[in-house]
């Protein structure tokens, strides 16, 4: 989780935060409230997450609740990973039962 947070933060800072001093930018800052991202920015961020973490994202997951801060994105990615592991785990279990 911490690593994801770091990586997403790094990406956001590189691409959207121009202030020389990044310390003022918190992982809880809302991208909307701070005006950090416009519509292209959101798409750029989604593309980054898809590619970096190898997850597919459905339209109904493109909600500000999932994407509006570094911490929200990290939590979303983490949840998706856990889910994927659980799915894989169940598959493995099923495979075992079948054999």
């Amino acid at each position: 989780m911490h690593q994801i947070e770091q990586e997403v933060r790094q990406f956001v800072i590189e691409n959207f935060v121009f202030e020389s001093d990044n310390r003022g930018f918190s992982n809880d800052d809302s991208f909307f409230d701070t005006g950090l991202l416009d519509s292209m920015g959101v798409l750029t961020l989604v593309e980054f997450v898809k590619e970096k973490y190898g997850i597919s994202i459905e339209d109904d997951e493109l909600l500000p609740e999932n994407w509006d801060s570094v911490n929200r994105i990290a939590a979303f990615v983490q949840a998706r990973r856990t889910q994927a592991m659980a799915d894989q785990g169940s598959l493995a279990e099923i495979a075992q039962n079948l054999s």
Partner: protein, 664 residues
């Protein structure tokens, strides 16, 4: 169309001819057909001529009434024939066929009220020798430019800032307040200019300079109050509007074809210029020559629509195809002409287009500018309408669908989920009450570019109250107008003259001695549009409804029914090539280097370098990245050309072919 300059020494010093020549020389491209100067005692008037009407008799400065009135005039008075007739009936005698002489006689007849009779696009100065006063005026909507200042006991004026800056008494210092305004509003409203102490005469204003005093007064006000009251209660009423509009646009186009040289037309591939071209073609009676911009980038290119119009109207057509590289190459020249920071490169292709027009032997073109402002074409009007609907109907399920209809050409929005569209376009009933409701999203987003200014400039800019500088320029009753009228006013009274008609209009056309004429900006149409019920401008979300209804049949159905696409040009990519990761032209690296940024002291090198790295990597994709990059580079070019290298630039102004005539 021409360039004018001059000065009046308050302390009685005789006017220095070499100083006057130094000023007018900076504007050679505005009038390559001849230069004239009038010097008498403490006053000097100068003129560069682009001869269009009465080629032989229209030389300037021109005098009337035993030489007691002298004029230097840039522009056209389209109703000059009718005015001339009226004045002859009143006993005035004319010695030329020019519109210039008509202004002199109008001034004799009506004094400073003369402008109320004029239908046209103008900036002029009249020296009234008998009464020792200088009268200056600018047209109602701001087609033609006029700048002035007082310095060293002189009143100094010119068509462009460079003519004023060339006067040796004038200090050349950048005005960070005006530059900051561009980085929020996309324009700096008149009377402010990017240079300290130099003013722009606002559209619809006159000024009188006498006894050392400068008095500016408004003679015309754009007013949407009639539109607020207008209702359509019966089908007959709509028909009346349709028939009035039909007559007006026909006449506005007809009188804009008055010239002793051939008139061409710009074709964008959209509705407005297609309509003006179709109307002009009918009046001209022969094949009209048309000109277009095409782009290599297919998402910006409209040439297939342009070709359809050309086929349908059977015009003689030429196209200039612009690459990102071409735009980067001419950008410094574009800033030399626009004389202000710009956030988009869109003027650059029009600079290239006017060169093509000129090389093809044309001096005059009709364009479709103004229809979007006055007849209701802009997306920002639609966006405001949707947001206002949203605020009123918080639970409507139609909202996301409406929003997708808003910007069909913007991929970034088309790919958004409904939840994100809601987040971006959300508005509350309280937001709607804000007088700037329509423009707040644009201004808030653009103002984020302040992060690139140095800390001290940021602090200086933050001292002004939010939007107070625009608020103080608004007409009485503005706050009571509806959302649509308010949005229209903000676009028409500010962005139109301060960006579209200047940086993207007069300046880039006159750079190659080409005069633009705008049928939709005939003041009768402007006033008519400001009295139309809003639903005839935008019916639900159908933009320019009345224009389509009345004139839509003149253009091919595919052009009439296409989704509106604003004219856009490649921005960041014009300066940096993402395939090589390098700047396309050396000046880009030079002016955006940390050293050069520090030299001019306006921008903080750290964030700018970050933005440059992003552009080099091809990651500058957002509106803000592009606007900031073009804005910073254009501001640096402004400082480089007008502050540190001005002498060099004006010394190298090309000579004109015509001769200089001095009248004393």
């Amino acid at each position: 169309m021409c360039g004018i300059a001059g000065f009046l020494n308050f302390d009685g010093r005789p006017a220095d001819p070499s100083l006057l020549e130094r000023m007018i020389r900076t504007l050679n491209y505005r009038g390559p057909d001849g230069t004239g100067m009038y010097i008498s005692g403490c006053v000097g008037l100068a003129h560069n001529r682009l001869s269009i009407i009465d080629i032989a008799g229209g030389k300037q400065p021109m005098s009337a009434r035993q030489e007691s009135l002298w004029i230097t005039f840039n522009g056209e008075i389209f109703n000059f024939l009718e005015l001339r007739e009226e004045l002859i009936k009143k006993g005035h005698e004319f010695s030329t066929r020019s519109d210039t002489e008509v202004i002199l006689h109008l001034y004799r007849e009506y004094g400073s009220d003369c402008v109320q009779h004029m239908n046209g696009q103008w900036a002029f100065a009249i020296w009234d020798a008998r009464n020792r006063k200088l009268f200056l005026s600018r047209d109602r909507v701001g087609v033609r430019p006029l700048f002035y200042t007082t310095a060293g006991h002189s009143f100094i004026f010119g068509s462009e800032l460079k003519a004023v800056l060339a006067h040796t008494a004038v200090d050349r210092k950048l005005n960070m307040q005006a530059i900051g305004q561009v980085f929020t509003y996309w324009f700096a409203p008149a009377p402010g200019t990017p240079f300290q102490g130099i003013h722009e005469l606002p559209p619809g204003h006159c000024m009188m300079v006498e006894e050392g005093q400068v008095n500016v007064h408004r003679y015309w006000q754009l007013d949407f109050s009639p539109s607020e009251m207008a209702r359509i209660d019966s089908p007959g009423e709509q028909e009346k509007y349709e028939s009035e509009f039909c007559d007006l646009l026909l006449d506005a186009t007809r009188i804009r074809l008055r010239a002793d040289v051939p008139v061409g037309a710009y074709l964008s591939g959209g509705l407005d210029s297609s309509v003006t071209t179709a109307l002009a073609q009918r009046f001209v009676g022969s094949k009209l020559c048309t000109f277009s911009v095409a782009f290599e980038d297919p998402t910006l290119d409209e040439s297939s629509y342009q070709q359809e119009v050309v086929r349908s109207l059977d015009t003689e057509h030429q196209t200039i195809r612009c690459s990102a590289d071409d735009i980067g190459e001419v950008f410094p020249a574009v800033i030399w002409h626009s004389e202000r920071p710009i956030l988009r490169t869109a003027p650059a292709p029009l600079f290239l287009l006017s060169r093509l027009v000129r090389e093809s032997g044309f001096k005059v073109v009709l364009t479709g500018e103004g229809a979007d402002e006055f007849l209701g074409g802009y997306d920002i009007y639609k966006e405001a309408k949707i947001r206002a609907f949203w605020a009123a109907q918080a639970d409507s399920v139609r909202r996301p669908l409406l929003l997708k209809r808003l910007y069909p050409y913007l991929n970034g929005l088309q790919k958004q989920s409904p939840a994100y569209l809601q987040a971006f376009f959300h508005a509350t009933p309280n937001d709607v009450k804000n007088p700037f409701f329509s423009h707040v999203p644009r201004w808030e987003l653009t103002a984020r570019s302040a992060v690139f200014f140095t800390a001290s400039i940021r602090q200086e800019l933050q001292q002004r109250a939010l939007y107070a500088d625009i608020e103080q320029l608004l007409p009485d009753g503005f706050a009571k107008w509806g959302t649509f009228s308010r949005a229209q006013y903000l676009e028409s009274a500010f962005l139109l003259p301060a960006y579209l008609l200047s940086s993207q209009g007069d300046r880039v056309a006159m750079a190659h001695s080409v005069e633009g004429r705008y049928p939709f900006l005939d003041y009768r149409i402007v006033q008519f549009a400001a009295s139309l019920p809003p639903q005839l401008k935008m019916k639900v979300l159908n933009e320019k409804y009345l224009l389509k209804k009345v004139f839509g049949d003149l253009v091919p159905p595919s052009v009439r029914n296409r989704p509106k696409q604003p004219y856009r040009a490649p921005d960041a990519i014009s300066f940096f090539d993402p395939t090589t990761g390098k700047a396309r032209h050396p000046y880009v690296d030079d002016l955006l280097s940390s050293d050069c940024l520090r030299t001019h002291g306006m921008f903080d090198p750290n964030p700018v370098q970050k933005l440059v790295a992003k552009a080099k990597a091809g990651r500058a994709s957002s509106f803000l990245d592009n606007a900031a990059l073009v804005g910073i580079l254009s501001t640096q070019l402004l400082a480089h050309q007008f502050i540190t290298h001005f002498e060099e630039k004006i010394q190298h102004a090309p000579d004109r072919a015509g001769s200089t005539a001095v009248c004393n």
